[in-house]
């Protein structure tokens, strides 16, 4: 009994580990489908709609990668992962790419053997409380009960923040966002803490969003971004540059709508912006070949859901129920932090 259980687990681990091999690009092409680790339901970032079609800010990044690699933005299979299972799912090869508001940290990068290829959302941890609680600052939360999602960096930030301010709290550790939201709404905790973007998303899904406020304190840096397995640099580059292509497109004013016009104009005009030409593979530019794709990769990635700004506004921007401002996520040219290296 003892032995069989022990080795049974080892066998299971081995089988799963055996599936993860180098050459993710070849695997994806052979499979004809991108496996994308998504959140288990966070409005605006990754959530299946009424027809079962996944939509969201992180989802659109997966679609852009699928378009660049496979030529079809719909060839993505979204796999819902919780805060607990996401990195295991990635490490074991269950997903090719994890786009699930995961924070880039030192230990995840080095100890978990993951590669964070970019930061698609600069975030910070905040607190949400009911308006009628009469609290206006997180420092007034002494003795409060706080709901947190387990397996996240927020759990550790929370402990540090309360310790630094010499105040106490009772943690209620919850497995995923939707359960945390249920407990918070049921009054099982005074405050709900997660990334500020996640709070905005949760609030938009509540019965009466105006009854809740997000406190002004942002207690941590939470750079969220897509993650790939360590060691497959080519695949990492593809995801990274697909993301950068969306940023550059916004910078150059290339949108989903005017993409074909820009291509036509650039082809006709020898004096057109050379970086746009290199990005879109116009003339004899074939930069995409360098990373194992073809020269039209960026046309497809931009054509999937539009440029970075379009994806932002469509899913989480100020016109949506989530209503997030660009803030730190504006382009560097507009005072934000989103900056793509040149295509050269």
């Amino acid at each position: 009994m003892k032995k069989s259980a022990f080795y049974g687990a080892l066998v299971a681990t081995t089988l799963v580990a055996g599936m993860a091999s180098a050459g993710t690009l070849d695997d994806v092409k052979a499979r004809g489908e991108l496996l994308c680790g998504s959140s288990s339901g966070l409005a605006g970032f990754g959530l299946p709609d009424a027809n079962g079609v996944w939509t969201g800010f992180d989802v659109d990044l997966c679609r852009a990668v699928a378009a660049a690699v496979l030529g079809d933005a719909t060839k993505v299979k979204f796999i819902a992962t919780t805060g607990e299972t996401r990195f295991t799912a990635l490490a074991s090869g269950e997903v090719d790419l994890l786009a699930r508001n995961s924070t880039w940290t030192f230990s995840r990068d080095n100890d978990l053997k993951l590669d964070f290829v970019a930061v698609n959302y600069y975030d910070g941890q905040g607190f949400m409380v009911r308006k009628d609680l009469g609290v206006s600052s997180a420092k007034e939360l002494d003795g409060a009960t706080v709901c947190i999602q387990t397996g996240t960096t927020t759990e550790l930030n929370l402990a540090d923040f309360f310790k630094a301010n010499s105040i106490s709290y009772t943690p209620v550790t919850v497995a995923d966002d939707s359960e945390a939201q249920r407990q918070y709404e049921a009054g099982a905790c005074d405050a709900f803490t997660t990334d500020a973007s996640g709070l905005a998303s949760s609030r938009s899904a509540m019965a009466d969003p105006s009854a809740h406020i997000i406190l002004p304190e942002i207690i941590s840096k939470e750079p969220l971004g897509p993650v790939v397995r360590h060691g497959d640099n080519n695949w990492g580059d593809i995801v990274r540059w697909t993301y950068f292509s969306l940023l550059i497109a916004e910078e150059k004013g290339i949108t989903k709508a005017n993409l074909n016009d820009v291509i036509a104009a650039s082809e006709a005009d020898p004096a057109a912006d050379p970086e746009t030409k290199r990005l879109l593979g116009i003339g004899d530019n074939d930069m995409g070949v360098m990373m194992g794709l073809d020269k039209d990769w960026a046309r497809r990635s931009i054509g999937a859901a539009g440029n970075y700004g379009e994806i932002f506004e469509a899913n989480i921007g100020e016109a949506t129920p989530i209503g997030l401002a660009r803030g730190l996520n504006a382009l560097w040219t507009q005072g934000g932090l989103q900056y793509a290296p040149p295509v050269r």
Partner: protein, 425 residues
């Protein structure tokens, strides 16, 4: 056996390993063993190779690094500066707390229900049947969630216990009301009970970070001493009764011996209760039991008690009716018959299935994850695993711990089973 007798005696040939029934089984066993060992080596090799391919090693060093997270229920002191190892023990103790309390309640409830189900009272017997069938046939996880949601959604929040001056002036009572002379508050988050405190404690010390409290030890020693003194008193009373035929009056002496020393010690140490008081967001002071804990205990008790009840019923039914009739013929009351004749014999049948019930309760505590109860699965197998990314190590450790726990429980109960089994003379 005639085959063995007829075997040729002229030396040993290799072909005998296959064709001779005396040796064939050894040959088969040898090759099966060889295959099994080869399989183990392949599995281990594969694991190590795959981990190495991902630049990972097997190391338990993370147990000594800072945990960094908080745990709401802790039976030994723990802060977020403690190590992952300590978080492991906090989780283990939380698992054991639920398992022990649920086992005790399930035994009491199960034995009662098992006996009542055999009652001659039609209504009582049917009610017990309904209880057993309903709880036994719905998955435990659902009962845990139901208990948790009922506790959380029906009780008022801590804020609603607040009594403001305007409410006093208007003669209004708050929505939430404390029970038992304002000593117990059940909010939508947890149950707040008064905590026993001492003004003049006897001090204590720490062994490997586990506080040893002299006051508690003193109280336990005094209670054990009292019980032993009471036994001596009863023995003497019995001796007097046997020699003179008159039993001396002992009840007030028993009461005095049992309770006076403990009470005296408690008074000397300045025993008092600290009542929970609403302060800020929550009730402060006293003992706070989170609803995740209460829900686990309630659900595990109600669910497991049905199995205990069935085991008890089977045990009682296994005792021949003649035993009851003989006891009645001697003029014994039904209650004596049950306690002195039937149950002691039924124990032989009841205990083996009870062992597996206690094992089940212990293993079922891992379902606490559904209601965010931080047991061993929640700390070591949940947060620690996540924060360190050491899946293999954490899972192996957890399996080892649950395995040793189960084996220990089996060993203890098997020893007990041995002591109550039929003595054949």
């Amino acid at each position: 056996m005639s085959v063995a007798m007829d075997a040729p005696k002229d030396g040993f040939r290799l072909s005998q390993l296959i064709y001779d029934t005396r040796y064939r089984s050894y040959t088969i066993q040898f090759f099966v063993m060889l295959l099994f060992i080869a399989f183990l080596i392949w599995v281990l090799n594969n694991t190590v190779a795959n981990l190495a391919a991902k630049d990972k090693d097997i190391s338990f060093g993370f147990l000594w690094s800072r945990a960094g997270y908080d745990i709401d229920q802790q039976l030994i002191p723990y802060t977020n500066d403690s190590t992952h190892l300590r978080a492991l023990f906090v989780g283990l103790l939380n698992s054991l707390a639920v398992a022990v309390i649920a086992s005790a309640f399930a035994t009491i409830l199960g034995v009662t229900v098992g006996i009542l189900r055999l009652s001659k009272n039609w209504l009582v017997a049917r009610l017990m049947t309904v209880y057993v069938e309903v709880f036994r046939n719905v998955p435990l996880l659902l009962w845990i969630i139901v208990a948790f949601v009922i506790l959380g959604e029906t009780r008022p929040g801590p804020k609603e216990f607040k009594v403001t001056d305007e409410m006093v002036a208007a003669g209004q009572a708050p929505v939430g009301e404390m029970w038992l002379w304002d000593s117990v508050a059940v909010t939508n988050r947890g149950t707040n009970l008064p905590a026993p405190l001492l003004d003049r404690p006897l001090g204590g010390f720490e062994v490997m970070g586990v506080p040893i409290n002299f006051s508690t030890i003193a109280v336990i020693l005094v209670i054990v001493g009292s019980v032993m003194a009471n036994r001596a008193l009863l023995r003497r009373a019995k001796a007097v009764q046997e020699s003179t035929g008159v039993r001396p009056v002992t009840w007030w002496k028993s009461l005095l011996i049992l309770f006076a020393p403990t009470l005296a010690l408690l008074v000397a140490m300045g025993f008092h209760l600290e009542y929970p008081v609403l302060k800020g967001f929550n009730f402060q002071g006293g003992i706070n039991l989170a609803h995740s804990f209460t829900a686990m205990v309630i659900a595990l008790t109600l669910y497991s008690a049905t199995y205990v009840a069935e085991a008890v019923r089977a045990g009682i039914l296994a005792i021949s009716k003649g035993q009851t009739e003989a006891a009645y013929a001697l003029g014994m009351r039904p209650s004596w018959t049950m306690n002195l004749i039937i149950l002691p014999q039924a124990l032989r049948v009841i205990i083996p299935p009870m062992i597996s019930q206690y094992l089940n309760i212990t293993k079922n505590t891992t379902l606490g994850i559904a209601v965010s109860y931080l047991d061993l699965r929640g700390t070591l197998g949940g947060i620690t695993l996540n924060q360190t990314g050491r899946e293999l190590e954490c899972m192996l450790l957890m399996m080892m711990i649950y395995l040793s726990l189960s084996l220990m429980i089996s060993a203890i109960l098997n020893a007990y089973n041995h002591s109550v089994r039929l003595k054949e003379r």
